[in-house]
Amino acid sequence: MMTRKEPYFSPYEIAVLSLCGALIFVSKVLIKVPLHSPGHSSLFVVIPFLVGCGVVRKPGAATYIGLITGLLASFFGLEALHLFDVFKYLAMGLVIDATALVFNFRMDNPAVGFIAGAAGSIAKMGVNYSIHLLLGVPATFIVLGVGVASVTHLVFGGIGGVIGALVIARLIRAGVIAGAPSSS
């Protein structure tokens, strides 16, 4: 019998990650929260990121989601300059992955959720402003904007993270998602 290399993500994990990526795009288009502050969309963007991360529990999961959402948003986005959305979501995924790795994928913990969500949301904002900087918006104004926006991104990203963690915790209790592997 020929031995084959097992793929990194199983088919189930691939399906989960693809669907989470699509879900982020959908919720961004669909859900309009009556809040008009920069970064409020992070609230919903963060949740599928965390869920994907919490279900798959492998490094790279969030980056994978970010890549998929980013490419979808680039092609079918609604804002000006949406071709550059890939970088925003990719950065977000990378940062969430890094956080998840640091906290050993305890994504059901609201504190971890808050940190991951806030960090991811800030990373996304950072990339967004760098793109603006490259395209000619002067740095002073960006610094001013960053001052206000980083607070809202932090808060909304964090809240989204907490909600994501609550969702994961509830699904683990219900047995829909396998919890943290005991020791193996």
Binding site: A15, L19, L71, L81, L83, I163, V167, R170
Partner: protein, 259 residues
């Protein structure tokens, strides 16, 4: 459908449409790099000219100009801010003032600088719009796959696009069902709404996960992962047109450097 906003693929078959998406991507990267490398108005005008000509040659002028309207807000902002707060003000000074910590100065140098920045935005943004308007997502994924994108990622991208409408429907159904149980989504603040968000997020997550379970089983039953090297149906090869576009962009970039 809310498809009016934003830039979208236009189904036609101009030469730009027929080009290999990879070629267009390379051209986009080259052109953006060239545009980022300079702050002079003239080379940037030239680069923008290249983009305009490309649009005209592929009979996309009208939708192209239409799409540029999307950039208007950013453009205005850059125009005004860069005119009054350039990196360096030189030449004739038309106006100067002091408000709190700001020192707006309107000068020839500032005007030229802001024009250059606008042109840069127009060139980079415009070419990215052209790219999106002439490249179908599925063609893009297919061409990436032909040049070595892992089969898994190609599958994910295609499936994610396919599931967008199904997920939209799922979420709409979940919201309707909860509203039928007398839940109101648009009252009260966020803290009060915490449970309402959970009443949406939990069923949405559950439906995503059960969808994923069934999809992964179907994938395996359709042979996903059976061959070490899956083949690819319908890949178009590059032609002289691909070479022509890259050459054209390179030439434009080179000339703008020489200036």
């Amino acid at each position: 459908m809310k498809r009016q906003r934003g830039v979208h693929y236009i189904k036609e078959s101009t030469w730009l449409h027929r080009l290999d998406p990879r070629t267009k991507l390379v051209a986009l990267v080259l052109l953006s790099m060239a545009a980022m490398a300079t702050e002079e108005p003239l080379p940037l005008l030239l680069i923008f000219g290249t983009v305009l000509i490309t649009a005209a040659l592929s009979h996309m002028t009208r939708p192209f100009l239409g799409s540029l309207r999307l950039l208007m807000p950013v453009l205005l902002c850059i125009l005004i801010i860069d005119a009054f707060f350039p990196r360096a003000a030189w030449g004739t000074v038309y106006y100067s003032a002091e408000f709190w910590i700001f020192h707006p100065v309107l000068s020839t140098g500032g005007l030229l600088f802001s024009a250059a920045m606008c042109l840069r935005l127009l060139a980079v943004g415009g070419f990215s719009f052209l790219f999106i308007m002439t490249t179908a997502f599925s063609d893009f994924v297919r061409s990436l796959r032909a040049s070595g994108l892992p089969n898994t990622l190609a599958f994910s991208l295609g499936y994610a696009l396919r599931s967008v409408s199904a997920l939209t429907e799922d979420i709409g159904n979940i919201m309707d069902a909860q509203r039928s149980r007398a839940l109101e989504f648009d009252r009260g603040n966020l803290v009060k709404n915490r449970h309402k968000i959970l009443a949406l997020a939990v069923p949405a997550t559950v439906s995503v996960l059960s969808r994923a379970r069934q999809v992964s089983e179907a994938m395996q039953c359709r042979g996903f992962g059976a061959a070490a090297h899956p083949t690819c149906y319908q890949v178009q090869g590059g032609g002289w047109e691909d070479v022509a576009l890259v050459g054209c962009v390179l030439l434009g970039a080179a000339v703008s450097f020489l200036l």
